[in-house]
């Protein structure tokens, strides 16, 4: 019978010859292939090719030498309700004029402590990568994997679960929040945590983490701050100097305070009752559109109490003395916000600076940092109160407020819109507002007013609310299904 040829043997014999070519390596036609040897060489080669091909087809694919061990992700956030998944994907794929919709969704996920469905992460990849810190651990893992599979961290952190060991490995935003929170409870321990990792941090990280020590400065912080006066990063040095100037007995001056004082004039008015009057001198070359940004840059590193002390006034007296100078009032409102001095801010906004909201919006991002949500709302209410039932139709101011609050605005802002159609009609007809406005209003609308807002929107041209209405639906869904902070 001759030699039998099984599939493996056939492959071993035929493949090298087929690959090399008949001219270089003739086919070995023996055993069961001997019948082919009686045919023309070309036919034999063709048949051998087909037989080998079939043998290869029946070869099972080999597994790789090993498989990667996937990290265990303990993401205890519930998944977005099934009914909302499609709406979410469609909304995020729509072409948008601003990122208010994405921000509203990201903050909505954070507040409700829900997460997008894992299977949807590839479909909403851009949104997930931008806002992963708000979307839960699975989203953070996804983002890290997409960025660089080799560099993907082995562990992921829920902000609530950080401790003194794990905090240094978490994303920066979570670290800042953790440190700020610890600083409130135990300032010394917070500083110690930072000192332990200081040398390994990048310049940007050092700036952010150092800012978290701003509250609760005491003489105990002095040695650390003096040590970092020689830091390589100018921003770190400047911040350290500023903090030291607030510590009694440090002998350090705040250069920013000195610069402000050079521009503030204090005079006395009144015949019978002498009253102080403050005026802020702006640089001569400053354009009107640059004023608010300049004010922010000039006064960001100065606190209310150190300015008042330098002027030999109480803080309230300082506000009263500035009543005729709008620019100085803006600066004081800015410092009151930064220093969380809401009672002073109220005095300013209710007094001579009724448009404090719009003025602060022109200054830039207020960075309310660790301010709790309830305090942020209170802060916003102070700014909104002077407007009553006629809030400004300033898209920039509304966007600014949305970003400052990282969530819905106080009800008082939406009330005029849902109570009567007049404000919206004016907005649409006079300001020629488009769908971006409706999207923004939907993004900032508190949960309690969404039903009424939805009714108001249904009266509008559907083109204006293509994204606003589904956004209200999703935010409602997050609200109902989530656990709220």
């Amino acid at each position: 019978m001759g030699e039998r040829v099984n599939a493996k043997a056939l492959q071993a014999r035929a493949i090298p010859a087929l690959l090399a070519g008949a001219a270089r390596q003739p086919l070995n036609l023996s055993g069961d292939l001997a019948a082919l040897a009686n045919t023309a060489p070309a036919i034999a080669a063709l048949h051998t090719l087909s037989l080998t091909a079939q043998a290869l087809r029946f070869e099972r694919p080999l597994p790789p030498p090993s498989f990667h061990t996937e990290p265990e992700i303990y993401d205890d956030r519930p998944i977005l309700p099934e009914a909302s998944r499609r709406i979410l994907i469609r909304l995020l794929k729509e072409k948008k004029t601003s990122d208010d919709l994405d921000l509203a969704l990201a903050w909505g996920f954070a507040r409700s402590r829900l997460r997008p469905h894992p299977f949807d992460l590839p479909r909403i990849d851009s949104f997930v990568r931008t806002y992963a810190e708000h979307l839960g651990l699975t989203a953070q893992h996804w983002t890290a994997q997409q960025a660089d599979a080799a560099a993907a961290p082995k562990n992921y952190f829920d902000a609530e679960a950080l401790d003194d060991i794990s905090w240094s490995n978490a994303p920066l935003a979570q670290r800042v929040r953790f440190l700020g929170s610890r600083r409130k409870e135990d300032p010394t321990s917070a500083r110690a945590l930072l000192e332990a990792t200081w040398a390994q941090e990048t310049a940007d990280t050092r700036v952010c983490l150092l800012a978290a020590l701003e509250s609760g400065l005491t003489s105990g912080d002095q040695p650390f701050l003096e040590a970092i006066l020689k830091d390589r990063a100018p921003r770190v040095r400047s911040m350290a100097q500023r903090f030291l100037s607030r510590i009694t007995g440090s002998g350090m001056e705040n250069p920013a305070l000195k610069a402000c004082l050079e521009r503030i004039q204090l005079t006395t008015t009144g015949l019978i009752k002498k009253r102080g009057k403050l005026a802020l001198e702006l640089p001569a070359t400053l354009r009107e559109t640059e004023v608010n940004a300049w004010i922010r840059n000039c006064f960001s590193e100065v606190s209310l109490d150190e300015l008042a002390r330098s002027l030999n006034l109480t803080e309230s007296a300082m506000v009263d003395a500035a009543e005729k100078d709008k620019n100085l009032l803006v600066a004081l409102a800015w410092m009151a916000t930064a220093g969380r001095r809401l009672e002073l801010l109220k005095r300013i906004a209710a007094g001579q600076l009724n448009d404090a909201w719009e003025q602060l919006a022109l200054c830039g991002n207020p960075d309310l940092g660790m301010m709790p949500a309830a305090d942020r709302l209170r802060w916003a209410e102070i700014l909104l109160a002077p407007y009553g039932s006629n809030p400004p139709a300033s898209y920039a101011a509304w966007r600014w407020l949305h970003r400052a609050l990282e969530g819905p605005v106080p009800e008082m802002l939406i009330e005029p819109i849902v109570r009567s159609s007049r404000w919206l009609d004016d907005l649409l007809n006079e300001a020629k507002a488009g769908p971006e406005w409706m999207e923004l209003i939907a993004a900032v609308c508190p949960a309690s007013q969404r039903v009424r807002l939805r009714d108001r929107f249904k009266d509008l041209d559907p083109q204006l609310t293509l994204t606003a209405l589904p956004l209200l639906d999703i935010l409602d869904s997050l609200e109902k299904a989530g656990h709220h902070e």
């Binding site: 690959l19 091909a53 790789p64 498989f67 469609r90």
Partner: protein
């Protein structure tokens, strides 16, 4: 605004559209028509394609949409639906609005820019003329005999042409073998283009397409795999050619199913009408679920749209069916009439073959409706599923794509490559690599310990279509 014949006439772009619409008025062409009771009507029309076209019309503003690739607006399907509504003879069930209609509504930019029925559009289309256009021609036996003889002559000429083309193919493959297949990939594009052209001239268009797409298939594989893949592909092509030459052999040598498969693969097409009227054709009535829809542009500039159906409930016969539509790329149509997850009760008629897979819908018993229910998959794991694939290959050696189902599987990763494996930790277990294009979409499945999967295996890599998991259903689109 109720539809009436005058409005339909006014909307029709021309008389030929109305004539074509008239041919679609048979209720059997519409497995599903419905209304929401508030001015919206929709339906599924079984046209010449393998999947029905979906049509929706707003009676309020006469907006419409159809999934067919026609460039006439409104198309014959839209006109036919309006005509049926105007006639009032076919009952429109009052149903909740399906998701594909809602999506159209949500995307509408207001009333479509169509002429109001009161405007004179100048089309002068007439329903009366369309109804009267049915011409009755008496059969002419002599003419039919001449036509039959001509068809037989053409068939013999084509057979001879194909055989000549196969001889040239043999020479071409032999040349490649002489040179050695190790370097074939490097010059495959030009070489395959030339032989494909020859085969087109020889009227072996199916084989020509296979050769023309060969370079792309080879280069989609890792470099180390390409030499063996070349052997597999060229060996298979020669096997097809040999099988074609031996069609006259007995059924013991070449079973009839295999003969039919060879002919179709070489390029003999069977029209839908011929298939439906073949009493020997395999018919399976069942409930089918759409598990995948794929679309690709072929080298001949036709878009091939595949709709893969899974047979629910099991039973004798094929466990899956494949509907294929070919559309010119220029029409812009790129999707199947069905969506993944749709469930349809239908009778499928399968093209003859040793392992029947490609089919047409002979009859729909229901319109397609999306279902979120899980599929009841056979109780076998990946190893056993692959064994069934090997059995199928024994019956049809040139089997292209096979639907694999596996329970208790998991997805694993090696480098950037994903693999579908059984859950056991045996290092020698089968591991089927996924297509690289699926890496991003499928990677969320890596976090799961277990999943039940459906995929399309083409002999090299798996297109994962459907996975049932603790997080719900994952689909590839």
């Amino acid at each position: 605004m109720a539809l009436n014949h005058e409005k339909v006439e006014a909307l029709a772009p021309d008389q030929s559209s109305l004539d074509a619409a008239r041919k679609l008025l048979k209720p059997s062409s519409w497995p599903a028509v419905a209304s929401n009771g508030a001015g919206l009507i929709w339906g599924e029309c079984q046209g010449s394609g393998s999947t029905p076209y979906r049509v929706v019309v707003s009676e309020i503003d006469l907006g419409y949409k159809c999934t067919c690739p026609s460039r006439k607006f409104p198309c014959k399907h839209s006109l036919a639906l309006m005509w049926l509504r105007a006639d009032g003879k076919l009952a429109f069930a009052t149903d909740p609005v399906p998701s594909w209609v809602s999506e159209w509504l949500s995307r509408r930019r207001g009333p479509s820019g169509i002429p109001s029925p009161t405007e004179d559009t100048g089309s002068k289309a007439s329903i009366q003329a369309a109804v009267a256009a049915v011409s009755e021609t008496k059969p002419d036996p002599k003419a039919e005999a001449r036509a039959a003889a001509a068809r037989e002559r053409n068939r013999q000429e084509r057979e001879a042409s194909i055989l000549a083309g196969l001889d040239d193919l043999d020479l071409w493959i032999s040349d490649q073998l002489d040179r050695g297949l190790a370097g074939f990939a490097g010059h495959s594009a030009e070489a395959c283009r030339l032989i494909a052209k020859r085969l087109v001239d020889a009227k072996a268009s199916g084989l020509a397409t296979r050769l023309e797409s060969l370079p792309a298939r080879i280069f989609s594989l890792p470099e180390a795999s390409r030499p063996n893949a070349v052997i597999r592909e060229l060996g298979q092509i020669h096997l097809l050619a040999e099988a074609y030459r031996r069609q006259s052999e007995s059924d013991e040598i070449l079973p009839s199913g295999l003969k039919a498969s060879v002919r179709q693969t070489i390029g003999w097409s069977l029209t839908r009408e011929a298939l439906l009227s073949d009493p020997e054709a395999l018919r399976v009535s069942s409930t089918w679920r759409v598990i995948a829809t794929l679309s690709e542009v072929q080298p001949d500039r036709l878009r091939r749209i595949e709709t893969w159906l899974w047979r629910e409930g099991g039973g004798e016969g094929p466990h899956a069916g494949l509907l294929i539509d070919f559309l010119p790329v220029a029409t812009g149509a790129a999707s199947s009439g069905f969506s993944i997850g749709d469930r349809v009760k239908a009778e499928l008629v399968f093209y003859p073959g040793a392992v029947p897979l490609r089919a047409q819908i002979a009859q729909s018993f229901s319109g397609a409706a999306f279902s979120a229910e899980a599929l009841e998959l056979p109780k076998h794991n990946l190893q056993e599923a692959y064994r069934k694939y090997e059995e199928a290959m024994l019956h049809e050696p040139w089997l292209d794509t096979w639907v694999l189902s596996a329970r208790n599987a998991r997805l694993r990763r090696h480098g950037e490559q994903l693999f579908l494996c059984d859950r056991d930790e045996n290092p020698t277990s089968l591991a089927l690599s996924l297509k690289p294009a699926q890496t991003s979409f499928a990677s969320p499945l890596l976090g799961l310990e277990k999943l039940d999967a459906l995929g399309l295996w083409d002999g090299y890599s798996l297109t994962l279509c459907w996975a049932q998991t603790e997080w719900g259903r994952w689909v590839s689109a």
